[in-house]
Amino acid sequence: MRWGVLQFPGSCDERDAVNACERTSAEARLVWHEERDLDGIDAVVVPGGFSYGDYLRAGAIARFSPAMEAVSEFAAAGGPVLGICNGFQVLCEAGLLPGALLLNESLRFTCRQLDLIEESSVELTTPEGGKVDTRLSIPAKHGEGRYYAPDGMLDELEERGQVAYRYAPGQNPNGSARDIAGVRNERGNVVGLMPHPEHAVDPLTGSTDGLRVFEAVAAAGVAA
């Protein structure tokens, strides 16, 4: 398994993402924004940060980069793609994911460890018959993370199981519609979320729950 982590001018969390991929026992390398070649790469991370300074609108410039053209083709072929924070914004701007990310309701950047609920189309149970704990402790840090889509579209996303992650009740940090923290595309191979799973891969820095996000996306691509 080999991940490619895009690197734009202004990316911030790309090295952390490489580190996280490696902690899932995969290989990882940085992919410069001018590269069009994803040969040998099995899964892609579009990382967090402020690509091109987030000038104009978060993610609006990065979507036109050569590397993103390659990622669009990669996703169309069923390859797994994970967009984190700015990467989520880029994927929405590129039309690979539905909806948009608006300024936080507080109008302020917010950095906070919080709980996410992993949404699944099937109810997972433990061998004893109990509910599987799908809570993940992961930090969120962004100023433009309020997930928005028209009501009709939100209904459709829910029906099709495209809501991937929700903020735990009472922990929505930005006013996102229906507490949505992350969504997937219809095929399920492209996933984006605002919180940062790459910053939850080391018990020393807070939590290892983020590893599940990387593993889930890698698996989603294989199935597509």
């Binding site: 001018p9 911030c12 969390d13 580190n19 300074g53 917010t110 910053h199 820095t205």
Partner: protein
């Protein structure tokens, strides 16, 4: 002559300084030269009122890799790695335009750190504002916090700690001090000295505009007063995206060995960076202003030379490597231009194409400024006002809640949640989870470092010598609480007008205290910054030496937080803590501030720090917290609030040291540690048992001042800051 006199005075030079320049040049300076001299001879660049004092500070130590005089200091952390760090002020720009002032303060300190080849890994900040009930203070606080967040978050360097105090002497002159730490391979670090006659001088990064012109002289070295809005054009505008590209570009250039030396452009722009590089290398430099990429076409040579446009770096490059340097800059989509050459003339020559528009000996420009002796005189008593916000007969519970809600003590969550504290995957202890931030450094031998920044100006105002010693001790205690041993210290000396006797005395006393504490603790000062002329219409700010200290610990997995962790554990007091109400937060709330502070015993505090540090490293403690603002009662409340676990404590042992019930509860002073853990372990450490954790209330027995308060009630008071903004 009369016209010239007006001009040099306008630029902040005295008549005798102007005459000295004429003598050194053998003629009157032209406008370009006068502008350059006025900046490099300003307090901000020449340290003319502080340099003599600073010679007292101990700067040497086994672990020092780079000391004062470089862009940042650095200490060895083993395995061939060093931690670079520095703190710097951006007070006056922030008082005029807080968002950009604070943002560019962060930008500047980041550049200082990557200029020596270190990748920035953490930011801390130390802020001071007037009281929260002032609209101006709330505006400055909001702008500064947003500015710091904007720049640091955008560039991907975590903000891991800091402090904010609210005191009326900062009403007109807020303080914004930013500290940055970077990690470097020791052998790849680069100095700022220009070298190699014939080598090219390359300007990298943003283009040069009219922003920040005269910032160093007009803004940074004069008192603020009426009409500050007119100074707004001299505040620089930051672009963190440009900085992020320049940062990555410079680190790549250094890794590839393409640069001879590197220097950031800060105050006084090209003038100071070229001058200082030439001076440090004992060479001359020719610069052609016609080759500088400009934002506005019609800029005058003097404007180009003094512009403080942000996100620019100056490098010396061997001629054969210039093309490769420019290619790396192009890869990172940042500007680069060969604008000059290193010469053996000992002169800074400014050309516009072939015309010489300025020529000055480097020695005169950079090192020729006269250094002044201070004329200190201790003021008569307390020169700052008093105002009462808590009635004298308030009960203990009401007093504790008032202290916890006091903006200087209350949780700063509102502020630090606006900063990314996790990017970089190194942050083991985030803000408010421990007394110092802990960062893992797997590259280094020690595997982890800790860092703290402190400086309670009010206590320094009460006694500049004793108060400054306390600031250093508090940093040392904070590091001990997470198991770290100090490696080095940086400082930012924020004071009033040094030409006036009282601020001069405060500065003199504070530097003596700093030197004494560092000497006795064996902690070298590896760098620093001085910010003088911090005054408003009502007089000087509280004298505020801000101390930033970096330490190391052997294992990031074995550290300690400040919050209680388990019910029914013993609570104990350790260290030579003799609390008094002098200079305390309670004395402030009661309007009873006066000059004078008890002296700290540096040696016994150091020995208590060693005990705590060793116990933390051995994993023996459940929590460790330095007793600081608001005294033992506030320290207990903070440990309880963070865990949701209450406590029952009897302060009799402090009463036996001669403290009144009130002093035992709310008195302040250096040397006290609040620990929790196993009863026998704590006793074996020599700590005095004072109580037990558990329940949902904080129950304090202190003679006739005994009381009980719910942890939830205390928490509401402590978390009230955000709601009041």
């Amino acid at each position: 002559m009369s016209v010239e006199v007006a001009k040099h005075r306008e630029l902040g030079l005295t008549d005798s300084e102007f005459e000295l320049i004429v003598e050194k040049l053998g003629r009157e300076p032209n406008d370009v030269e006068l502008a350059m001299f006025s900046l490099l001879w300003s307090e901000h660049c020449a340290y003319k009122h502080s340099r003599k004092l600073l010679r007292q500070l101990p700067t040497e130590g086994e672990r020092v890799v780079m000391g004062p005089g470089e862009n940042a200091g650095a200490v060895d952390v083993g395995n061939g790695y060093a931690i670079a760090f520095k703190v710097e002020s951006h007070n006056h720009p922030s008082a005029v335009e807080p968002f950009q002032g604070a943002a560019t303060g962060v930008g500047g300190i980041l550049r200082d750190v990557f200029a020596i080849g270190a990748r920035p890994i953490a930011i801390l900040d130390s802020l001071r504002f007037g009281e929260l009930d002032s609209v101006r203070s709330r505006h400055l606080l909001d702008g500064a916090v947003r500015g710091i967040g904007h720049y640091g978050n955008s560039i991907g360097v975590p903000n891991v700690g800091g402090e904010i105090y609210f005191e009326s002497p900062y009403e007109h002159n807020c303080l914004v001090n930013a500290m940055c730490l970077g990690l470097a391979k020791t052998e790849e670090m680069v100095r700022a000295a220009a070298a190699g006659v014939g080598n090219a001088v390359v300007l990298m990064g943003a283009s040069t505009g009219r922003d920040g012109i005269g910032g160093a002289s007009v803004l940074a070295s004069a008192e603020l007063g009426e009409g500050d809005d007119a100074k707004r054009p001299t505040v620089q505008i930051g672009d963190p995206f440009e900085e992020s590209k320049v940062l990555e570009c410079c680190l790549e250039l250094l890794e590839k060995g393409l640069l001879v030396s590197l220097q950031d452009l800060g105050a006084a722009g090209l003038t100071s960076s070229a001058g200082e590089m030439a001076s440090a290398g004992g060479v001359g430099i020719d610069l052609d202003v016609a080759k500088v990429p400009l934002r506005e076409a019609d800029m005058e040579p003097f404007e180009i030379m003094v512009s403080e446009s942000q996100e620019r770096m100056l490098a010396v490059v061997e001629p054969a490597k210039v093309a490769e340097v420019i290619a790396v800059c192009e890869k990172w989509q940042t500007g680069s231009a060969e604008i000059g050459v290193v010469t053996d003339s000992g002169q800074i020559r400014i050309l516009r194409e072939s015309e010489v528009v300025g020529e000055m000996p480097v020695e005169a420009l950079v090192d020729g400024c006269p250094l002044y002796d201070l004329e200190p005189a201790a003021p008569e008593g307390w020169i700052y006002g008093n105002r009462t916000s808590l009635r004298e007969d308030a009960g203990s519970e009401e007093t504790l809640l008032a202290l916890l809600a006091s903006p200087s003590i209350a949780s700063k969550r509102w502020a630090f949640e606006q900063y990314d504290s996790v990017v970089g995957s190194r942050t083991v202890r985030r803000p408010e989870s421990a007394d110092a931030a802990v960062l893992q450094i797997p590259e280094a031998q020690g595997a982890a470092i800790a860092v703290s920044i402190d400086g309670n100006g009010r206590r320094v105002a009460c006694d500049p010598h004793a108060g400054t010693i306390e600031a250093v001790l508090e940093c040392t205690q904070n590091l001990a609480c997470v198991g770290a041993e100090p490696l080095g210290l940086t400082n930012c000396l924020n004071f009033g007008n040094p030409e006036k006797p009282a601020p001069a005395w405060q500065l003199d006393q504070a530097v003596r205290g700093l030197a004494e504490a560092c000497e006795q603790l064996g902690v070298p000062v590896v760098g620093g910054n001085v910010s003088l002329y911090n005054e408003g219409p009502e007089g000087p700010i509280y004298p505020t030496p801000v101390v930033g200290m970096v330490g190391e610990l052997p294992d990031p997995a074995v550290t300690c937080g400040s919050s209680f962790t388990r019910e029914r554990e013993a609570i104990a007091l350790l260290g030579p803590f003799e609390p008094s109400l002098a200079g305390s937060e309670l004395a402030k709330l009661r309007g009873e501030l006066d000059s004078g502070l008890p002296r700290s015993d540096i040696t016994s505090v150091a020995s208590a720090c060693a005990t705590v540090r060793d116990a933390v490293r051995a994993g023996k403690l459940s929590s460790a917290h330095d007793i600081s603002d608001g005294g033992l009662a506030c320290a207990l409340a903070e440990s309880a609030i963070a865990s949701g676990i209450g406590c029952r404590v009897d302060l009799q042992p402090l009463r036996e040291r001669g403290c009144s019930p009130e002093e035992a509860l709310f008195g302040e002073g250096a040397g006290g540690f609040l620990l929790s853990g196993d009863r026998e372990t704590l006793t074996a450490l020599g700590a005095i048992l004072i109580g037990e954790t558990g329940g949902s209330t904080i129950e304090l027995a202190a003679g006739d001042r005994s009381f009980t308060v719910g942890v939830g009630t205390a928490e509401s008071a402590w978390l009230s800051l955000g709601a009041r903004l």
